[in-house]
Amino acid sequence: MRKKQNSIPTLNHDSLQQEKRKEQLFSLGLSIPALISIVLIIVIPIGWLFSLSFVNSNGDFSLENYQKMIEYKSYARVFYTTFEVSVLTTALCVFIGYPLAYFLSQTPEKYAGFFLLAVLLPFWTSLLVRTYAWLVLLQRKGLINNFAIDLGIWDTPIKLVHNLNGTLIGMVHIMLPYLILPLYGAMRRIDKNGIYAAANLGATPAQSFWLIFFPLSLPGVVAGTLIVFILCLGFYVTPAVLGGGHVIMVSTHITAILENQFNWGAASALGVVLLVTTFIILIVLTKLLKLNNILFGKA
């Protein structure tokens, strides 16, 4: 093989190389503000969280905060509840959201905008208001129970809230748009000709849906599911209000520790464990489901 250097003429070579380096440095320079903000907003606080979690209530370095989590079963239960609520909310969101997003994606674009607005409308109301609205609807002498008893559908009030059911109802309502939006986007991007092609090749509408549309909508399902699931893990207001103290999630427990003990270390340790568990789950899921392929369309 011929050496490259020998074949390159020297005319202006050095200044051209210098120009090239300058340009590279400049584009690197453009990304510095972003890098700084990432370090400031993400790396430093998380690093701080980690280091705090190894500080006990006397301000000394210790593993006390983590030992406590093993010692008391409440921590394991709180994590279990957190994942239980998140998984159930996500699953319900997919069951309700998929048909909705499908309907939206099949509606002509000018009408879809209107329906999409209806989906997004709840975003314009405060989370707290929406949550308390559910309380008004679901409680013992709330609208639903009163109405059902008046109509004779059931005789004594049914416990719809201050438990897991109520929490799930509220959470699904709040999380649904987060699932529908990416899913709707993915569905809109599916090539209509692909569906035509399937029909043309002999697929019934049901076959077209399950063999072509559904697999192609999976990236949207995965994106929406991840967003909803991760948002659920850290959710506070809705389980606190609609769970009636029976649904204790990690965020609730963190608040309890802070309010009662001002113990940043113990609270940080809970945060760290939640962060790490979530991370591990994501990595395992990525490996298992080959999420990379689904999300980024690589082979």
């Binding site: 090539d191 000709n193 692909g194 035509y196 092609a197 399937a198 029909a199 043309n200 090749l201 002999g202 697929a203 019934t204 509408p205 076959q207 077209s208 063999l211 072509i212 697999p215 192609l216 369309g297 082979a299």
Partner: protein, 357 residues
């Protein structure tokens, strides 16, 4: 496999007050390669979609052989189709894409594999069966789409501008391949394009469509040499259209020369002359014209285009004439220079008469 003829009767489709198809009648012979040619928005794709079953017409009939199909859903029509953007399934491999119609027809896996391999061999993609769609080039995708469309041996094949996304060189190569494939498969093929050259290259017959109506139908030669009106003349090939005026005896004349002797049908109608640029030839000063149809004018522009040279000549009445001659001939006429006067001739056989607009 037996090819099927297609009979289209009074097919009509409206969008609001606009006709996409205006009572179209069309017979496509069994095994024929018919091209629907027209500008965008002419209704050619709507017609194809109605044949495939994707677009429901307002009225009319589509017969495959003797069978009325206009009410059948697309998946029951059993026609192969190649889409403009290929419409391959990105979540499947090449082999899975091609096997898709076979799977739906519940063909045994072993036979599926054989047929897929045969189809892959036909489109020269034998080594690509395991590839994902996004690992293929445009031309390769085109071949996969093709293989998928004919692997289940449909008796009718529809193609919607299948080559539009390819670059010129590849497009011309694929045109030849498609023609060969058609000969090999013998399937009735309806091909949609807006590229008149492509239509001329590939088709047994061409149907020229505009504003939802079939303007003219015929072999490429017929359409080219006998355009029915100025739209066809203009749309297919290059042409110069010159208005003709009748003299007191009813002959059709351009300037002072009589081009067509009087006929009864010339009355009460305006006529025009169509001249194909390549049919014009230059006449040198020394030479005696071999034809009685000659034009003399000033050279406005002479452009070397590789395989031919294009000239624009301005006639004394300021009409413009386009002429296309081979570079060899151009070289022998050294006086082809802008601003000079030149005489060109046209044989009587090459003049085309059309009703003027």
């Amino acid at each position: 496999m037996d090819a099927l003829p297609i009979k289209i009767r009074s097919l009509t489709k409206t969008y609001g007050s606009i006709y996409a198809l205006k009572s179209v009648d069309l017979n496509i012979n069994s095994g024929e390669f018919l091209t629907l040619l027209g500008p965008s928005g002419s209704g050619k794709t709507t017609l194809l979609m109605a044949v495939a079953g994707f677009s429901r017409p307002d009225a009319g009939s589509v017969l495959f052989g003797e069978k009325e199909m206009v009410l059948s859903p697309p998946h029951k029509r059993d026609v192969g189709m190649v889409f403009q953007n290929y419409a391959l399934f990105p979540h499947m491999t090449v082999a899975e894409n091609i096997a898709f119609p076979l799977k739906l027809r519940k063909i045994k896996p072993k036979e599926q594999a054989d047929q897929v391999n045969a189809a892959l061999a036909t489109v020269q993609l034998t080594d690509y069966s395991k590839r994902k769609i996004d690992q293929l080039s445009g031309g390769q995708r085109q071949r996969v789409a093709l293989a998928r469309a004919f692997v289940f041996k449909p008796r009718i094949l529809l193609m919607d501008e299948p080559l539009a996304a390819l670059d010129k060189k590849l497009r011309e190569q694929m045109q030849i391949e498609l023609k060969q494939l058609h000969r090999q498969l013998g399937v009735t093929t309806v091909y949609v394009t807006h590229d008149q050259r492509e239509a001329l290259t590939m088709s047994d017959r061409v149907a020229v469509i505009n504003e939802g109506e079939i303007i003219q139908i015929g072999t490429p030669e017929q359409i080219y040499s006998n355009p029915k009106n100025s739209f066809v003349a203009d749309f297919i090939g290059e042409s110069t259209i010159l208005p003709l005026t009748p003299n007191n005896r009813g002959d059709l004349c351009y300037s002072d020369s009589i081009l067509y002797s009087a006929k009864p049908e010339f009355n009460n109608k305006n006529w025009a002359l169509v001249i194909r640029p390549e049919r014009l030839f230059p006449i040198s000063n020394s030479e005696n014209p071999k034809t009685s149809i000659t034009f003399e004018g000033k050279i406005m522009e002479f452009v070397f285009q590789g395989e031919s040279t294009l000239g624009i000549i301005q006639l004394p009445n300021s009409d413009q004439l386009t002429i296309r001659i081979s570079p060899t001939i151009a070289a022998s006429f050294t006086d082809f220079k802008t601003g000079q006067t030149i005489m060109v001739g046209l044989n009587h056989n090459d003049k085309i008469l059309i009703p003027a607009n």
